[in-house]
Symmetry: none
Subunit: 202 residues, 4 copies
């Protein structure tokens, strides 16, 4: 009688360990030994569950994207208007407080850097961002429409908001001391809203 498979759980543990180690030491600093130690596993077991180190990273990218999506959907559930959903989106990404996870944010910054140089990671990174961008464009289109504004630059506005968010992650991870307190969520919302308000009518 075979032992009950716990592969799914082990894989989750390993991915979580990569996130934790990566947030502090980066991807190259996240040695298999360190990941295993953090997860409380034997080093060999990591490679039993993942073909190689990159595979863990790809899993992590998908996992972080999935967590972000889930947080937005939770916050957006009670949003009645497009503008409320926009606020929900920005809060899901940028709000500080109990839901915020600095380690995940730092890990995401590391993912972004790895995406620059590893093709597979770049693909996973883009696979995470593409639906995000599409959803955001749709959301902003709704906001523009609700205000009777031209939707022509919805995509550019979505890209801008995404850039703002990625940059806020970077700065909060590497230059928190320099930044004003809790500026990000509020400023993002106002920048977008004032931009929309000044767009030409549809």
């Amino acid at each position: 009688m075979p032992r009950k498979s716990n592969t799914a759980e082990r894989r989750r543990e390993i991915v979580a360990a990569l996130l934790a180690v990566m947030a502090e030491r980066g991807y190259d600093g996240a040695s298999i030994q360190a990941i295993a130690r953090t997860a409380g596993l034997a080093p060999g077991l990591v490679h039993y569950h993942f073909e190689n180190k990159e595979a863990i990273l790809l899993d992590l990218v998908a996992s972080l994207a999935q967590v972000g999506r889930a947080r937005y959907e939770m916050l957006a559930a009670s949003a009645a208007s497009p503008h409320a959903r926009l606020q929900a989106y920005i809060d899901a990404r940028l709000a500080t407080g109990p839901g915020a996870d600095p380690a995940a944010v730092a890990a995401w910054v590391m993912v972004g850097a790895e995406a620059v140089r590893q093709l597979q990671v770049r693909r996973a990174y883009q696979d995470a961002l593409a639906p995000e961008l599409a959803m955001l464009t749709e959301l902003l289109r709704d906001c523009l429409e609700a205000d009777g504004r031209s939707q022509a630059r919805a995509a550019q506005l979505a890209a801008s908001l995404l850039a703002f968010i990625e940059g806020a992650f970077q700065l909060s991870s590497a230059a928190r001391e320099l930044m004003p307190e809790a500026y990000a969520a509020q400023m993002a919302l106002q920048l977008v809203q004032r931009f929309i308000a000044a767009e030409p009518a549809a």
Copy 2:
């Protein structure tokens, strides 16, 4: 009479080589051997001019900051108004075209990731950003003043613009295919200007 020292030049070459290699392979992928090969030097010579690998990186951070500053000053030289200087700043950072240097942008993204985990690099990164942020705050204060708006949130606006720029660097390095064409400079300027225009009067 000793022959003239070429240390300064050699150091510049080595830093430039780190930039080039780092843009493609990241900091950990930038081995001393690879840097030396790119610079056309013997590996041992690198350690003659730099105490260790981190020292090259610290030099690179300062060098990138300095180049950015110089570009802004060149563009700002002919700017008559605060708003013109704001445009000069944004163009210096985000304009595509001949002045743009994708390798430097990618290297800066790598620097940002290293700053998350290496104390010395974080310090250098912050030493580069702090004056930038101060200068930008001053610039935005001038813009707000020129428009007769409250300057209370100049610092937050500066931080936001910086976040946008860092994020735009990240996305242009790792997800260029997903982003709209040349959105960054134009959107950055309009987002800031519309925000300013909607600020309460001073």
Copy 3:
């Protein structure tokens, strides 16, 4: 009543899998996991049936020797004269065509290499070759006697034929493209026959 043991069959499957994997990747490349996969079994089961990896190899050596012996006996059954039996022997070893098994030949070459460095394997290899050599010596003695020739060098001739065969295996496995088409069986027979014909009378 316990269910019937299938140990013997499982062992055969595992040995066959070792042969197949070894022919392509060598002994060190034949990991237990690969053997199990090829045999369609769970890795743990391999060690249930064999104490360790070497034990499978020892079984394989015996099995290959046994298969070779069986093939000779089948061909020799209808051989009326010593010379006919010699031809049967050479055909059993070297004839190309339906009976030939390149994987088994390649595996045997690998066995030969392992025999050089592993004492137990060398013993098994020699235990396979010794009766072969004895039988061949006897066979050649019969041929020499039938032709009225001195039998003094029967053992040396047997050794030579064995060397030729082992070498033909090696070359057919690693340099097939270089060798003439189907030279081995015919040349072996003629070399031996002409040697015998030129031996001094008894």
Copy 4:
């Protein structure tokens, strides 16, 4: 002022160490550590001089081929007739005595096994054998011609002699105890000569 390069010598030492270790433990058993220890070098230095382990093996194959060629040429220098050159060739390969090098023979057997499964090694192995076979064919053609015999089967005879030699190497490495004393050189010569003598006239 650079240190004088000793790369060529180091490479020779490493190849020699591979030969020695491989003869006793096979290719997979010849770990870089073991090679380095045998050569009296630091492990890292091995990879400084060779890109990877396979590269050492490829060098070894070429080196063994070269040594064999040199030994034949030395012995053949004083050979007046084709038959004398044939004897020189066989002696160069098979004669026991002071010139014989059991470790090189064993290493060659290991090379042969690796050639079965590694493409690059197979190519090097064939690159070593092809000129050997060509030269041998030419040599046998000369012998056949000198005796007024048909040269039609010179290539097949050359292949046969090569097979005999490879097989004799295998058996001397893994089953020396079973084989008659010093049979190989004498038997090879006589087998070939009697075959030639019985060929049809040209």
